[in-house]
Symmetry: C2
Subunit: 474 residues, 2 copies
Amino acid sequence: MTDPFVVIGGDAAGLSAASKFTREAPDRDVIVFEKGEWVSYAHCGTPYYVKGTVERLTDLLSLSPEQASERGIDLRRNHEVVGVDTDAETVTVAQDGETFSQPYGDLLVATGAHAVTGPIPGAELDGAFTMHGLDSAAAVRAALSEPGDSTVDTSIEYVDTALVEKYADWEPPERVAIVGGGYVGVEMAEAFRAHDVETHLFQRSGHLLPPFGEAVGERVADHLREQGVTLHLNTAVEELVGDEGGRVASVVHGDGNTDVDLALVGIGIKPNTALVEDTPVELGASGAIAVDEYGATSVDGVYAAGDCAEDTHAVTGEPDWVPLGLTANRAGRGIGQTVAGDPSPVGDIAGTAVVKAFDLECGRVGLLDHEQASAAGFDPVSKTVTAGSRSGYYPGGDDTDVTLVADRESGRLLGGAIVGADRAAIRIDTLATAIEADMTIDELERLDLAYAPPFSPVWDPVLVAAKVLNGQLD
Amino acid sequence: MTDPFVVIGGDAAGLSAASKFTREAPDRDVIVFEKGEWVSYAHCGTPYYVKGTVERLTDLLSLSPEQASERGIDLRRNHEVVGVDTDAETVTVAQDGETFSQPYGDLLVATGAHAVTGPIPGAELDGAFTMHGLDSAAAVRAALSEPGDSTVDTSIEYVDTALVEKYADWEPPERVAIVGGGYVGVEMAEAFRAHDVETHLFQRSGHLLPPFGEAVGERVADHLREQGVTLHLNTAVEELVGDEGGRVASVVHGDGNTDVDLALVGIGIKPNTALVEDTPVELGASGAIAVDEYGATSVDGVYAAGDCAEDTHAVTGEPDWVPLGLTANRAGRGIGQTVAGDPSPVGDIAGTAVVKAFDLECGRVGLLDHEQASAAGFDPVSKTVTAGSRSGYYPGGDDTDVTLVADRESGRLLGGAIVGADRAAIRIDTLATAIEADMTIDELERLDLAYAPPFSPVWDPVLVAAKVLNGQLD
């Protein structure tokens, strides 16, 4: 192969692949085309920048363009790939109004995902944001700050400074609307409340954090109310309405109107697949790019990874689309190694996710939803138990709610969720490991887990839940 | 079976067995003989009572005698079993100077362990303690308090009040010696320092917490020094010397003498097996009672569980003696169910242990020691890495040191250790689960573990360690 390894997208998956490739095959070329200014930033950290926990936006960079160069990566920012020709094995790249054609030996599509705002009219108004990208994080933080606040940096390298300057002039909002009660909505509620802003969260369904199941959702809802968030559950937002100046002024929803000064729309993301839609590269049922265990698409020499690609789910063995940070990094790394000549699987996913909701830690893994489990051919049975996170006599513990889902016939652990204030989220890793090892509830119940009064009771909450659910299976 | 299920010992294993048995076979009799006043107390909590974190000694009771009765358990305290006749299927019980014979249908030996003090002369002096039992915990706390301190309760039910009263009259010590740098020594150092006592810790070997490996031991040593503990490593204590009144006054050790007002000896425990030594019940190589996967000894109808019994190690498949709380509870529970007629394995052990060392959390699991791993037929290779516990930009994280040991040929994970200040201990459960699932380092590296900036970086420290060690195995 004389043509270079071409990577489309300079974020987690793309730069992980390029980094691994340059280490494994230092004599070969890799070019990364990134359409924006930013590369490899910690998307998951943006709510904490808005909140103020993270001081500088640049702290969220995990690899600077300079570091990428030092690794031997030919990184081209402000280069947007606008076309892919898998027959000619070239990509068409736009830069500064010009386009050129770049041949590739192997190609990695790591184009990520985008936040959806439809079908909510008005999401384009001034003062209405999504949290996908650093520009919007910088803009929201600027909008939350007093005009002239010296902690707001309007001239951050790589950022859309015009946008930030605009919002830096705004008076801080008195009342904000969050549309959507998923990760982004819950994390941003914490960020807004940290700025003492009246916060209204609208969720179409009756539960927050749907992928985490009802037990987590209900506890998080109670906790958000305690933290002063006004929840509007079972309330669909129909429209954001602006004032004469085109600035968001009101939320129209199922229960009427709520006047707001700022709105944050976090109702989901979709994979960026437009580039391959006119190519033979096949999409999966999820709408993301279908790949095999090495991240290879249906077209020879074309790979896909990160938020634009599917993965194989460890429980179902079927493709699934769970766009998260670790799996993007890991898949990129595997593909970099494979393209370098040492085939390396990208690894299954277990759908592991954790989220902080003010003082609560939430985790989920595997199949929690009974309908989803049934559709995958299982006969799901589940149980939620509440157990202490520490020995009862040791202060600082908290009730930890553990939900486990198992297959009735085989006893196999299918999924789990955990919520609590004391070391709850990290306990999901025990379940993730058990799920990837195809453990049964019976095996889970007999695990030799850690016990010391400050950290865990004799029977860890995970073991208590396994014991109770196993009793139901007997 | 018309004769009752007889249990010797009313602590974790014994009462777990009796409780499970009464639930499963409510029409049958179970008698628990406990030689002391206390039953089912949280041994692991005693350092925190001495420290003052736990306010009342009675908080450490996990099951009161009254609760045991309510469960239908015939609990006889102050009844010491002094003989076992496995031919006649009877035990001889001493109470108030009388003895009687009690026939049994099945017998569970759950006699626990005792702290060793030998070969250190002087360990019987006034002011020299071990931490095995609630009486000594009460006495040490009394000794640490000002005479007349109202928080010292000298009349706690079930406690040796004469002993406590004696130490309650003492002036608090200015300087204490801890002999032994294992769990007890490290936890008691924290307890003594909380009372602002000058604390000297003597450890025969060069490392604290030997079962946790060198990386943990060294970090804990540095941390203890920061906390004002004077460490005497590689320093064997030869003798405790008393004053004229028979009160400990000095420690004689390899480097000379150190004057002290109080001494705590924590150099290990041994299984209480004296009762079965004249019976056909076989002991294992460890000196604890040998059992099969159901906790059954070599004699029909006789079971053993808890600190007096061996278990099967998940990595070696061989018997091992790791006396800890969860496995005692679990084995008791399994035996209760088995004796009730529903055979239930007691479960393997993975040697999982965690300990708090001031602000550090330490965990270990499996085979860490290369000699031990080699003796078990493995070719161990290990690596220690340091990685952040959270995303670098998120405050509150800490360097987390992870040691992994794998078998070179098969890549199988054999053991691991973790130390750090932020959610480090609980991460050992991921490794415990992986070990019990016979995972390889390669599989460990590809686990879909949790990622969210406040809780974990993209690559959890466990994954970083797996990645590095896997690179060595390739």
